[in-house]
């Protein structure tokens, strides 16, 4: 009974950056593109103009990479872009020249992710030096590249690949 148009096996190839969704079908904690940025929706409410008006949706989103807040209001029939967000877990096996060495499930190692800056980076480094096992979640929103969320079951960390900044994405962790 599985649907033909629901294909979960396809890899990255051909996956579009975004797909449309009716505004009213969006939900809090889901993702949406606001002002061209992939955002996690943190607030959603509806209103109408006049008793016989149509519903409008008011959204507040937090950019999953920059942490910046964006807002939008639009008719609830409107189709919004939803970013294709992917998230992978890797094991951290080394740190070299400010880059992370990450072990994939397939056994391959990727080394293209920069160490996050700030406290988060320091925390990762000290934990790694202390010999703790660290899991790193990599978040990817198609064109807007990678970012990392790390879990030693303790902390959440993010970094961006193309965009140089590595930032903690609180929005993801919530």
């Amino acid at each position: 009974m599985a649907d033909a148009d629901l294909d979960f096996t396809t890899g990255d190839a051909g996956a579009s950056a975004t797909y449309p969704m009716q505004c009213s079908a969006l939900r809090k904690n889901g993702f949406v593109v606001l002002k061209g940025r992939p955002c996690k929706i943190v607030e959603m409410s509806t209103s109408k103009t006049g008793k016989h008006g149509h519903a409008k949706v008011h959204m507040v989103g937090i950019d999953i990479f920059s942490g910046k807040k964006y807002e939008d209001i639009c008719p609830s029939t409107h189709n919004m872009d939803v970013p294709n967000i992917k998230r992978m877990d890797y094991q951290l096996i080394g740190i070299q020249d400010g880059y992370l060495s990450l072990l994939q499930d397939s056994g391959e190692v990727r080394e293209d992710l920069k160490m996050p800056e700030g406290d988060l980076g320091k925390e990762i480094e000290s934990k790694f030096d202390a010999g703790e096992e660290i899991l790193v979640s990599v978040v990817k929103s198609s064109t807007i590249q990678m970012s990392v969320s790390i879990q030693t079951l303790i902390i959440t960390v993010l970094s961006a690949m193309n965009e140089e900044a590595a930032v903690a994405i609180k929005a993801m962790a919530k």
Binding site: M1, A2, D3, L6, F8, T9, M21, Q22, C23, S24, A25, R27, K28, N29, F31, S45, T46, S47, K48, T49, G50, K51, H52, G53, H54, A55, P75, S76, T77, V82, P83, N84, I85, K86, R87, M88, D105, S137, S149, Q151, L153, I154, I155, T156, K170, A173, K174
Partner: protein, 1150 residues
């Protein structure tokens, strides 16, 4: 401390402290301020401060110090009452009164405080036979007769102070007196002193009302006495023999009705008293402040009932006089805005207080004029209320008055069989017409017209929190609906005509727009004003029709209102059934175009007018005019249809004495009409769900209509015969547009409806096929997805996550559909999922919203099903919940939550876990299962002993939750309440499990109890106290000493002892604390004696020592040796009350 230094030093110390307290915040430091406060606090607690206080009052010039001196006297008198000579109390009272009399220029707050002290002394003395405080009334009446306004004002202040001291119960704990003491004082007071106060007041009012013109000062005095009269008439008369608990409840009631004791008969049945208040009102009605008081006095007189009336005749005479006075007052005046609420209170009080038999015994003419006056008043207030709405006034006085009057109408007509037949029809027509008129646009109505006929039309932003009119105005609509039934002959055709007319106009208007849109591509030119006016008209017409035709009782089968049934029967001879059915069955045609449409049943025609509205709406959506439609109107339509369907669809003849032929022919069981309408409604639902997916509220109302159609087996039987139903099921199962665009709550409810429909009557093949369409795809899709090899890699993809979320939502919907007759199959179905869900907990451990949803599935299943489950099934559920908790615990171990200051909803998971545990516990007190009766035949009884019990699961869960519940989290009210509900439940239900808890857990549980008892709200404190008795009983049962629980209870003994004996506590808690104390005392008798000994040994004063020792002796006298026996416990509680009243205040002395 104070006694040691001389009075002048004390004064200067207090005066400089007062200076600090009065200084602007920038001038003094916090420490200085605290120090100053401390000085006053300890001054007030000092022993026998009377001489110093007198000295202060006589010499100090600082008002604040005077105020504190008065307070100190008041507190000390109560504290040391039993130690003081009666004569010195008496002279103290005289001193205070004289002091105030001699100083007319005292600051108001100082004067009031001194008078309060006098009142407290009088009150404390009123139960003490050795002291006589009655002379105060003599003194006051002398003051009044002085004729000096200042002195008269002072007299009024004294009386007011006495009144509030004796009346209100929240003063009680302030002076450490028990409710019973308070009650006794009040009873004595209300018999005699209160009446004396009233008489004095009436005299003053009489005197004033005779004067031609009052100067400002006089009028001020007048106002104060009027307010005092109001206070007396609003007195909450305490009936004799009311228990302590009831007193507290009784005192809490607002809007007190006047129910004086018999001794007031002579005073209040004297017509001159009532006349006086009418006269007074006439005199001062232009002064809005005073008018409130005078009208309130009249309203209180209108609520008079009880033993004050010797018989019904007396009531009739009294009421007749009241109504005459009222009519005289209202007729011939133009009512001021400030009078509206007061007048409506008088009417509403008299209608709800006087029995029907008394109302009908009024002279006919008088009764008729009263009803006539009420009618005019209601219509006039209604119009003014509408004006207030247009002007968007903050203070809606007419709306309030209108609500009151409509409520009174409801009271009147609900028992109209007592009144002459038909006497309310004409008034009902008038009130109904005026309501409709106010809600329709011009020219038929006056909506949005200001007083001078200017239309205002503003589009305001409305947010989702604003209530819909059908709830916001539900009381008004219920009254209007009821009046519409009374005058059904007029109102039903009126509504039908208006609605049919609006629908025709709407249809035309939409057609014009369509042509217009086809001609020019610019949709911006559409003028919505005409459309919006039509929508608003239709909105109100449908709301009124819905309330007129049907009620919406919660939890019982709604019946067709008898008035509507009678109306339909009365006209059934003139009705042509076939034309009626034709009219019903052709919603696409104009009603008036059907030949013979005037010979149709009017009740059916009103329904079909709504169906016509619905049809215009549906056609517009098909013509792509959805943009022009009103979602509000869409909501009104499905709301109406739902309300109507509950009552009329498949009308059960057995429930009625007589039934209307047209109604039973059109909607009865096994009729074509019923089948047709079910099909029509279903089509409407399906159309709405696809067209209106963007309107959450409308989609919600629509899906609720669907639930109504299937929640009753008889209706569901017809529904499942419709092809549309099957299409809907298939479409939903395939999770394709447009249904998957609906909000999650709507999808959940849709799932619930689809499951409910599956329990309709079908042959077994069909049934199997149905489940294959509805539930199996859900399972199949889910299994296909999670069994994919690469599920671990793709599980975080949004599309996959959405699929999972949709499944979880559907599971919640399925659980919601649980009923006693389907629980066995639903339980088995859901159980298969629950274990997979636990796997998902692992997968989505980083996605809190998904984790929450998974837990929610468990919460729903436990909530809806556990009460029906037998032992074996319950155990299965316990087991799977236990596993869930284990996984949850593992994933949360060591997890740091970001942003401790974050919002409450971040702790949703904790809240849900606690909810789950509470739901599991609920099995212990709500259990409908009959040892697996609903599952019989499916399984052999397993016979094996219980593997997992509710207690195990719950305690395991508490083990997880407890360490996570930090003090910070307890600041969130929802978490705090749920947490304490859970832990006190556990103590009450499984006290035997508590001693077996792991040490750490046990400790934190005890800490939580202590924390809850000592530093949370009184509600939680009470919960914790209630948890103590079962714990102590548990200890007594096992008789093991030195167990951790035994030691903990010893600690609690001290806590509860301190709480009851040493601290000021909320009197409401005395019972809970007392019960806890008693069981704890039983358990730890030696420690209790020790506590008492220590307390006594700290007393230096021999008198106090003796008094305390006696009090402790009599406290336990009736229960020595204390045993856990109910009778003894009750005796103990009784003595405890006396104990607290006697020495409670004494022990608070520092």
């Amino acid at each position: 401390m104070m006694a040691a230094v001389g009075a002048p030093e004390v004064i200067s110390q207090l005066e400089s402290a007062a200076k600090v307290l009065m200084a602007p915040p920038s001038m003094v430091s916090t420490e200085q301020r605290q120090h100053a406060e401390h000085i006053f606090l300890s001054f007030r607690k000092s022993k026998s401060p009377f001489a110093v206080c007198k000295h202060i009052l006589e010499t100090s010039k600082v008002d604040y110090v005077l105020f504190q001196a008065a307070t100190a006297i008041m507190e000390a008198v109560v504290r040391e009452w039993i130690l003081l000579e009666k004569s010195s109390i008496e002279s103290l009272r005289t001193f205070l009164l004289t002091y105030v009399l001699q100083r007319p220029n005292l600051q108001k707050y100082v004067r009031e405080q001194i008078l309060l002290a006098v009142a407290v002394i009088v009150k404390r003395g009123s139960l003490d036979k050795s002291i006589n405080c009655k002379s105060i009334f003599h003194e006051v009446s002398q003051l009044i007769s002085s004729g000096n306004p200042t002195v008269q004002t002072l007299a009024c202040s004294i009386l007011t102070a006495l009144l509030s001291e004796f009346s209100s119960s929240n003063k009680t704990s302030n002076i450490g007196l028990s409710m019973e003491f308070h009650g006794s004082c009040k009873r004595i007071f209300q018999e005699d002193d209160l009446r004396q106060i009233f008489m004095l007041t009436v005299e003053v009012l009489q005197e004033f009302s005779r004067r031609e013109n009052l100067n400002a000062q006089m009028s001020c005095v007048f106002q104060r006495y009027l307010a005092l009269a109001n206070q007396v008439l609003s007195w909450n008369f305490l009936p004799p023999n009311l228990g302590r608990h009831y007193i507290a409840m009784f005192e809490a009631t607002q809007n007190v009705m006047l129910k004086p004791t018999e001794s007031w008969r002579e005073t209040l049945l004297d017509h001159r008293v009532m006349d006086l208040f009418f006269t007074v009102h006439r005199k001062i009605r232009e002064d809005s402040d005073m008018a409130q008081d005078s009208l309130q006095c009249l309203a209180q007189l209108a609520s008079m009932h009880g033993p004050v009336f010797p018989d019904e005749n007396a009531q009739v005479t009294y009421l007749a006089h009241l109504v005459e006075g009222l009519l005289n007052m209202i007729n011939g005046i133009e009512i001021e805005d400030s009078e509206a609420v007061g007048i409506s209170n008088i009417i509403s009080n008299l209608i709800s207080t006087f029995p029907r038999s008394v109302l009908t015994a009024l002279p006919n003419e008088l009764f008729a004029s009263f009803i006539n006056c009420l009618t005019l008043l209601t219509c006039s207030f209604g119009r003014s209320a509408a004006l207030e709405e247009v002007l968007d006034k903050d203070d809606m006085v007419y709306m309030e008055a209108y609500d009151k009057l409509l409520e009174s109408w409801l009271t009147l007509v609900q028992e109209d069989e007592h009144f002459p037949r038909g006497c309310f029809v004409q008034p009902a027509v008038q009130v109904f017409n005026s309501y409709i008129q106010c809600h329709l646009a011009a020219p038929d109505g006056t909506r949005n017209l200001t007083a001078n006929g200017v239309a205002s039309h503003e589009e305001e932003e409305i947010n989702e929190l604003q209530e819909d009119d059908r709830e916001l105005f539900s009381d008004q609509l219920a009254s209007i609906g009821m009046l519409g039934r009374i005058a059904a002959d007029h109102c039903i055709p009126l509504l039908t005509g208006l609605l049919e007319d609006r629908v025709t106009r709407l249809h035309g208007q939409l057609q014009r727009h369509q042509q217009h849109l086809m001609a020019s591509a610019d949709p911006g030119t559409v003028d919505r004003k005409v459309l919006d006016d039509l929508y608003e008209d239709i909105h109100w017409l449908i709301l009124v029709s819905g309330y007129l035709l049907a009620d919406d009782p919660q939890g019982e089968t709604p019946l067709i209102p008898s008035e509507v049934m009678e109306y339909s029967i009365k006209h059934s001879t003139e009705v042509d059934i076939n034309t009626t059915l034709q009219l019903l069955g052709s919603p696409g045609e104009k009603a008036t175009s059907i030949p013979g449409c005037n010979r149709t049943d009017s009740v059916i025609r009103l329904l079909s007018a709504v169906l016509r509205t619905s049809e215009v709406e549906s056609r517009a959506t098909r013509a792509s005019l959805t943009e022009l439609l009103s979602p509000q109107m869409g909501k009104d339509i499905v709301w109406f249809l739902r309300r109507w369907a509950k009552t009329y669809l498949l009308v059960d003849e057995k429930l009625y004495g007589q039934i209307s032929m047209p109604l039973s022919t059109a909607f009865g069981a096994d009729t074509e009409g019923a089948q047709w309408i079910v099909g029509y409604l279903l089509e409407k639902v399906i159309n709405n769900l696809s067209v209106w997916s963007s309107e959450p509220e409308l989609a919600n109302d629509t899906v609720e209509l669907l639930v109504t159609l299937v929640e009753k087996r008889e209706r569901a039987n017809i529904v499942v015969q419709c092809e549309n139903w099957w299409n809907l099921a298939k479409q939903f199962a395939s999770r394709s547009p447009p249904l998957h665009m609906l909000s999650s709550t709507v999808q959940r409810t849709l799932m619930k409806a689809l499951v409910l429909g599956g329990f309709a009557h079908m042959d077994s093949d069909t049934k199997q096929q149905y489940w294959a369409e509805v539930l199996h795809p859900l399972q199949q899709r889910f299994l296909n997805l999670i069994n994919q090899e690469n599920f671990a890699q793709i599980c975080q993809e949004e599309a996959v996550k959405q699929e999972i979320v949709a499944t979880l939502e559907a599971l919640c919907g399925i659980a919601e559909a649980t009923q006693i007759d389907n629980v066995s199959s639903l339980f088995s179905f859901l159980m298969d999922f629950l274990s997979s869900c636990i796997g998902l907990m692992e997968v989505y451990r980083n996605s809190p919203e998904t984790v929450n949803l998974i837990i929610e599935v468990f919460v729903e299943v436990a909530h809806k099903q556990i009460c029906y489950l037998g032992e074996t099934k319950s155990m299965k559920l316990y087991e799977v919940c236990l596993t869930l908790l284990q996984v949850y615990s593992k994933n949360n171990l060591g997890r740091k939550r970001l942003d401790v200051a974050a919002e409450e909803d971040q702790y949703q998971d904790l809240l849900l876990i606690m909810e789950l545990l509470t739901n599991l516990l609920s099995k212990e007190f709500i259990d409908f299962s009959d040892t697996d009766e609903v599952f019989r035949g499916q399984e052999q009884s397993s016979g094996a002993g219980r593997a997992v019990s509710a207690a195990d699961v719950v305690l395991y869960g508490v083990n997880i939750v407890l360490p996570l519940m930090s003090q910070d989290l307890l600041k969130f009210p929802s978490l705090c309440n749920q947490y304490y509900k859970l832990i006190t439940f556990i103590c009450e239900i499984f006290p035997e499990k508590i001693p077996q808890l792991p040490e750490e857990l046990f400790k934190s549980l005890m800490c939580s109890l202590e924390l809850g008892m000592t530093s949370m709200s009184s509600e939680i404190s009470q919960l914790c106290l209630e948890a103590l008795s079962p714990l102590a009983e548990q200890c007594a049962k096992t008789q093991e000493k030195d167990t951790p629980l035994f030691i903990a209870t010893r600690h609690f003994l001290k806590l509860v002892f301190d709480m009851l004996v040493l601290q000021k506590h909320n009197t409401e808690m005395t019972v809970a604390a007392g019960e806890a104390l008693y069981t704890l005392v039983c358990l730890h008798q030696a420690e209790y004696s020790e506590l008492v000994e220590t307390l006594l040994s700290n007393q230096r004063d021999a008198v106090i020592y003796q008094r305390l020792a006696d009090a402790f002796n009599s406290l336990t006298a009736s229960s020595t040796p204390p045993t856990m026996d109910r009778k003894q416990k009750v005796a103990f509680l009784k003595s405890l009350e006396e104990f607290v009243a006697n020495v409670g205040g004494l022990l608070c002395v520092k």
